[in-house]
Structures are given as structure tokens and as C-alpha cells.
Symmetry: C2
Subunit: 199 residues, 2 copies
DNA sequence: CCTACCGATCGGTAGG
DNA sequence: CCTACCGATCGGTAGG
């Protein structure tokens, strides 16, 4: 029975994962409103009511795409208990990894921009996401300040906002001109002006 | 005859300007694809074929919205022959002014993000816009380097990309949390780490 | 500038 | 998972 239910789940899970991957691409290329369920479904070789068998509606699909990305990222990072400089190193590492994933970068750039409208289905998600991210990085800066690893006058909260803003802005430039921008080294150079120790 | 044609033009121009302003708002709130000509037209109290009497199609409307903004900005700045530190001061000033124009900020954030897709109608516009902007700021950094006003090791082109990325990223955070971010002072603080002189 | 209309496409449901 | 269908909405045109 275990193997039966496992096998049964597996097929459906594969389709679900394919839909999630395809939807991420399309939300990136066309935006949330611009992407159509029919187009996403066709790319998965199913009908659009077939897609709606797996996800109740378009909003739910978007939210599951976002949450699926977070889960995969969490799994990749392994050590989520980083503190201080390790958090900053992880940001640079993440920028480096992103340079081989234009689809994921585009999706976050486009959907986070759309989500600034307060009636966007992912508005609350991004408000909460930024609050969490800024908090985490600010805390890392605070730990470094207490260890006297920060350049004088660096404000942890402001520096956190600046670092994340820089990362977001570089992604737009990188998407418009892949070869003109090296996101990871631009971040590293910036960080090195904030901290005394070496990254 | 002069006064007749002036009066005749004036009415049409007023409607055109109203449409441009309303379209800017809607492109910001709904994105280019998400905004509808019918909705924009209704907010101007005309029919949507009425709107299409002034603009041949949706793409042309978007392009005219973007160009209209550039014209107004150019007119406001007055002194476009700034060099060196004046260019950086203008960037900070611009961030400060933007903090009273959420509609304009949202429009640029959303449409520039959408435009990273190579088939977006404003793709070429934004590729060209970023190239020009980065060039201008990089040139300002170069002038300052030659005047020995730059902190050691600052690379003009990289610093230009970072400054513009920071500005773009701060706009997203500001749109999501107006009270949590002061774009102008975040920019000023960043710039002061790159230059020896006072802003 | 308007009304009336076009074909295309959308998200979602019924029913199997 | 499918076919068939729904009402709503889209950008754009005809003709005035």
C-alpha cells in the first residue's frame, strides 16, 4: 500500500512540479496578469482545465510558485543558521548562483514590481518577504558591529536596506544586459566598503 | 488665424495630456499588459475609441507616456549641462522629488521590470535609457576622479551601475513601505562613501 | 470625438 | 485529467 500510494503520488507530483516550473517562467516573461493559464498548460502538454485540476485558480498557482521557490532555496542553503558575515557571504553566493538562472531572476523582478500595487495577489507576500529579509541582514550587520568588524558609522538597518536594494537593482540591469553586469562582484565591492574584514 | 489654431490645438492638447497622465497611473498600477484602454479612457470621461483618436494604439500610448515623462523631467532640471558632483547631486534631488510622486515611481518600476522581456514594446527604450544613464553617471565619476575627489579604488563605471541599481531597488522598498525608507538619504549616505568632498 | 461591432482571448465551471 | 461551454473583457476598426 505504501508503494502504491507512493507511485500514485509521484506521477501527480511530477506534473505539479512541471506546472510550477513552467508557470514561473511565464510569470517572469509575461508578468502575472500577462501570463495565461492556457499558455502555461499548453507548455505542459495538458489542457487548461487540466491545470486547474492541480491548482484551484491562477492566484493559488502564483502563490505556490513563490512558496515552491522559497522551499527549494531553503533546501539548497542547508545552513540557515548563519550569522554575521556568513549572511553577507550567502547574499553574494546567491547573486552568483542567480547569474545562471535568468528565469528565476526575471520572475522575482517582474512579480515583486507588480506586487507594489496593494491589490496584487502577491502584495502581502512581498511586504512580508522584504521585512524578513531586511531584518535578517540588519541583524547580521549588528552582530558584525558588536564584533567591531564594521566600518565606522555604518547603520545596520540602513546598510541592510541598501544591500538588498543594490541586489534588486542589479538584477534589472543584468536582465537588460547580461554581459555588462557581474552582480556578485558588484555586491562584493559594495560590501567591502562597509566591513573591515575580508569576505 | 493664429489665435484660432492655438485655441483649437489647446483643447486637444488638454485631452492628450489628461490621457497621458491617466495612462501613466494605470500602467503603474496594473502594468502595461494589465492596464486596459477602456479603463484609461473611462477615467478621462471618453470612450476607448475616443482615446484611439488621440493615440493610434496601446504601444504608441505607452511610448508617448515614457517620452512625455522624459520631456517634463528635462524641462524641470533646466541645467542639463551638469558635470561631476552636480550630476550626483541631481540624482539625490531626483530621489527626493520622487518621494512625492508614487505614481511616477510605480510606473517606472513596473514597466522597466516588464521590459526586461525582449519582446516587450518598451524593451529597446529601457535598454537605451539605462545605457545613457549609466554613461552619464560614469562620466561624472570620471570627472571627479580626475579632480581627485573620489575615494581610492572607486571604479567610475561600476560605481555608476551601483548607484543606479541602489536607486531602483530603493524604489521597490519605498513603494512597499513608504514610511520605512528615505530614498534620498539612503542615496546620500551611499554616495558619501565614494567621494571625498561633501554633497 | 461617438456608437456599434469584430474576432480573439481570458479565468473558471459543468460534467464526465 | 478531458471536452464543451460560460460570461467578461480585450485591442482595434468601420462609419459617421
Amino acid at each position: 500500500m505504501t508503494s502504491d500510494s507512493t507511485r500514485a503520488t509521484r506521477k501527480g507530483d511530477q506534473t505539479r512540479t512541471l506546472i510550477l516550473r513552467t508557470a514561473l517562467e511565464q510569470f517572469g516573461e509575461q508578468g502575472y496578469r500577462g501570463a495565461s493559464l492556457r499558455d502555461i498548460a499548453a507548455r505542459c502538454a495538458i489542457s487548461h482545465p487540466g491545470l486547474l485540476y492541480h491548482f484551484p485558480n491562477k492566484q493559488a498557482l502564483l502563490m505556490e510558485v513563490l512558496e515552491h521557490r522559497d522551499e527549494v532555496d531553503r533546501a539548497e542553503q542547508a545552513s540557515a543558521d548563519d550569522t554575521g558575515i556568513d549572511v553577507l557571504r550567502r547574499m553574494v553566493r546567491s547573486a552568483s548562483v542567480n547569474q545562471s538562472r535568468p528565469g528565476i531572476v526575471e520572475m522575482f523582478v517582474v512579480v515583486s514590481a507588480e506586487s507594489t500595487a496593494s491589490d496584487h495577489p502577491a502584495h502581502d507576500y512581498f511586504v512580508e518577504r522584504y521585512a524578513r529579509l531586511i531584518d535578517e541582514v540588519a541583524q547580521a550587520y549588528r552582530v558584525m558591529r558588536d564584533a567591531e568588524q564594521l566600518v565606522d558609522g555604518v547603520n545596520p538597518l540602513l546598510a541592510a536596506r541598501q544591500l538588498i536594494a543594490l541586489m534588486d537593482g542589479l538584477q534589472v540591469q543584468w536582465l537588460l544586459d547580461n554581459d555588462g553586469v557581474d552582480m556578485a562582484s558588484a555586491l562584493r565591492e559594495h560590501l567591502q566598503r562597509h566591513i573591515k574584514v575580508s569576505l
